[in-house]
Structures are given as structure tokens and as C-alpha cells.
Amino acid sequence: MVRHVLELILVPFLALIIGLFLLGLARKVIARIHWRYGPPLLQPVIDIIRLFSQKSVSHGKIFDLGVLISLIGSFLVILFLPFGVFTPLAGSGGLLVILYVMLFAPIGIALSGGEGANPNISIGISRKLILSLSYEIPFLFILLSVMTYYHTISIVGAVNSQQTGGWALFSWPLVLPGVAYFMILPAMLGLRPFDMATAPQEISSGPQTEYGGKYLALVTIEHGLAIFIGIGLFVNLFLGGGNLWGSSVNSFLNTGWGVLISPVIFFLKMLIVFLLGLFIHAVFPRFRMEQAIKYLWRWPTLIAFVGLVIVLIVK
């Protein structure tokens, strides 16, 4: 019981720290790829301190509430996501719950932006929703193939199956869905070439146009959490969560040491996936909307669908 309450407090807090760290790391790594020195790692924290101390303009009650809805939705998804051996609410929910609750964040931003009544916000939100329409289809195929392969809708069940049977990405029927997930990951995180929704040069940062002061600080935090969720789901479904390779090595995770070591393993896996995504982000230009839809509905969808068919044949 005590452990459960501790997990409910600790996991969102850790996710917040990791999300902000990844945001800072992104800026530093991109700067190094550009042959710049780059800001300090804690620059997002400095920005958030500055933004919270600035005065901000509100445009109405829904404008305030929408930001909070998206932030709370993100925290809720994190509670349903296993983080190493920590599973705050993950035992009670499944992948379907995550699918539904993941919609809270964009809907909150859309509600809030509607109250902002800026044309740039409308364009940004419509781009964001069209983009999510494009990547939700391969995403659904991927989740279906994982659920079919492991005969469970519980994400904890999928992680536990990988503890004994090896990681999903390297068990051959799930290779194709894993590759497809990695292909839609930049679209889910809003990284280039899929950052049309928040394109600062075209539509002055889209949905964030009217956010200043504490609103922008909350949206920055929400962005960090969104990165944590997108990559965390990939690590849980395809890279075995907080597990190492092979059942003999994993036996020690069930002892007391697992509490300390498995979050670290989880974090290292997240770091590797995020860095791979950043390398694409740093060198690619931005897609146009129709190019993104064409790409997302062709290659990841095709690969995920073939993967689903293979899983159905094998099982």
C-alpha cells in the first residue's frame, strides 16, 4: 500500500525530470550537430523559471482550463505506463486506456487554442489533428499486432512476456511493427520532418502563439511529458521495458535491486531511442502537410499492416 502511494507520487515526478532533461539534451545535441556550443543542459529549467515569473495574458476560462486538461491528461498517461518495475496504475489499465487518454493532451490544447482566437493557432491545430489522423492508423495496427502476439491487452503483460522471451523488436514476427513505430515516432513527438504543427517560421509556433508566461511554462512541461510518453511506450512495447536481454540476467530484477536498476535501464533505452530520433530531427527539413500524409499512410501503414498479417499467421 505504502509502495503504491509512493509510486503514484514518484513516477510522475521522475517523468517530469526526465522529460525536461530530454528537452535540454535535445537543444544541446542539435547545437553540437550544427557545430555550435549550445545552451546549458538546464536551459529548459531556466526558461521555465523565467516564464513563471513573467506576467501572462489570459483569454478566458477555457484558455486556462485547456492547458490544465492537457497537462493532467499527460500525467494520467504516465500513471498507466510501466516505468521499469514501477507500475502505478498500469495493472488496472491496458493499451486501450492509453489509446484513449493519449487524446487528452491535443484536445486540451485545441480547446485552449480555440479560445485564443488567433488564425495561426487554428492552422496549427488543424495541422496537428490531421497529422494525428495520419499516424493513428499505423499506430493502431502496431498495437493490434503487439496485443495479438502476446495474447493480452495489458501493457504490463506485454512487458513481462518480454522478460522471459526476449525483446519484441528482436523476436522476428514483431520486427516490422517495431520498425513502423520508429517511423511514426517523429510524428508523435513533433520532431522534424513532422513539426508542421509548431512551425515557428511559417505559422509562428502554431498552437503556442498566444501562450506567454506561465501558460508557455506549462506547455513546455507538457511537451517534455509527451516526449516521455511517446518514447516510453516504444521502450515498453518493443525494447522490453526495464528488462535486460535473457531470462537468467533478469532474475535479479525481481529482487530488491530491481527497484533501483530497472528504471535506470529504462532511462538508458529511452535515451538511445531519443538520440536516434534527434539525429533525424537535426538534419532534415520540414515536410509539407500532404507529403507527411502521403508518407505516413504509405510506408509505416504498409509495414505495420504486413507485420499484423505475419503475427496473425504465426499465432
Partner: protein, 182 residues
């Protein structure tokens, strides 16, 4: 630069946050904007000091007027400045906003920008080198440290006079006063 001194962060996090996180709106009014791309890209890299270009005035706290200010541009400058959240700092870049520069006898150019919006600092020169922006930023840090970068306070205190000056060159301002005028 005292960004790494943890003691100062605990003593006054707000001031340190304002110093080392400057979201800049580069107002592209004239030739001065050509010095800004080298500043924010690989050659000089302003991001290492926390100076980042932002897309909208709502997210900014540093406003850089790069180049001459025509009467029409002044309207946009005032609106942008009033949309920025407090505390905000405004820096004039180049000799044109200071005293008109080479447009000193032009009929539709603003000669003294600080009559219409409060300016926290000037960068003199025609053109200033990109390094001058960094010198300006370090001066701005000193001013923030001593609470002397108080342009936004001056704007509120003397809004009546600023508004009068604005209405003299822009006869029909279509937005209401930002602060109540007596």
C-alpha cells in the same frame, strides 16, 4: 557571467531566470536584421547565452529594433511591445533608432525611438558587428542585476506622455490605451 554560481540561483531565482533566458523578437525593420542570422547560427551562436529567437511577442522578453523606424513601422512596434509580458527589455540596434542615422532629414522616419517606447539600451554603429549584440546582452545582464533595466516600469509610469507622443505621429491609433490615463 555568473550562471554557474548556485548560490545566486537560490538567492534570487527570478532575476537569474530573466538574465539567462532571453526570448528575443528580432524586429526586421531595416538593414540591421542582416546581422542577426550570423548571431543565432553556427558562427556566433547566441543560444549558448540563453538568447533564443521566438516567433511571437507573447513568448518573448527581449525586443530588438534592428534598423530605421518609419511611421508605419512604429505602429507595429508599439503593438508588439504592448503584447509582450512584463518584464520586457527593448534594445535599439544601429544608429537609426537612436537619432535617425542617415535618415536624419527624412519626412516619414522616426528620429528618436525612445520618445514613443521606452528603450533599455542602445547599440551604436552603422552597422554594428554581431559581437555588439553580445556586448549589449552582457550590459543588459548588468542592468538587470542593478534593477536598472526598468523600461516597462517607466512605460507604465509615464504612459500618458508616451501615448501623447504616439498620437502626435499616429493620428488615429485604433487600440485603446494599455494603462488607464487619469
Amino acid at each position: 557571467m555568473d550562471r554557474n554560481q548556485l548560490r545566486k540561483w537560490f538567492e534570487d531565482p527570478v532575476k537569474m531566470g530573466h538574465k539567462y533566458s532571453l526570448g528575443a523578437v528580432y524586429f526586421c525593420t531595416g538593414c540591421g536584421i542582416i546581422e542577426v542570422p550570423p548571431v543565432i547560427t553556427a558562427r556566433w551562436d547566441a543560444e549558448r547565452f540563453g538568447v533564443v529567437p521566438v516567433a511571437t511577442p507573447r513568448q518573448a522578453n527581449l525586443f530588438l529594433i534592428t534598423g530605421y523606424v518609419s511611421v508605419k513601422t512604429l505602429r507595429a512596434i508599439i503593438r508588439t511591445y504592448e503584447q509582450m509580458p512584463d518584464p520586457k527589455y527593448l534594445v535599439g540596434f544601429g544608429s537609426c533608432p537612436i537619432n535617425g542615422g542617415m535618415y536624419w532629414d527624412s519626412y516619414n522616419t522616426i528620429k528618436h525611438l525612445d520618445k514613443y517606447v521606452p528603450v533599455d539600451g542602445w547599440i551604436a554603429g552603422c552597422m554594428p558587428r554581431p559581437e555588439a549584440i553580445f556586448i549589449a546582452v552582457t550590459h543588459l545582464w548588468t542592468l538587470i542585476d542593478k534593477d536598472m533595466a526598468d523600461g516597462y516600469k517607466r512605460y507604465k509610469k509615464y504612459y500618458k506622455q508616451y501615448r501623447r507622443n504616439q498620437e502626435m505621429v499616429l493620428p488615429n491609433i485604433e487600440w485603446p490605451p494599455l494603462y488607464p490615463i487619469d
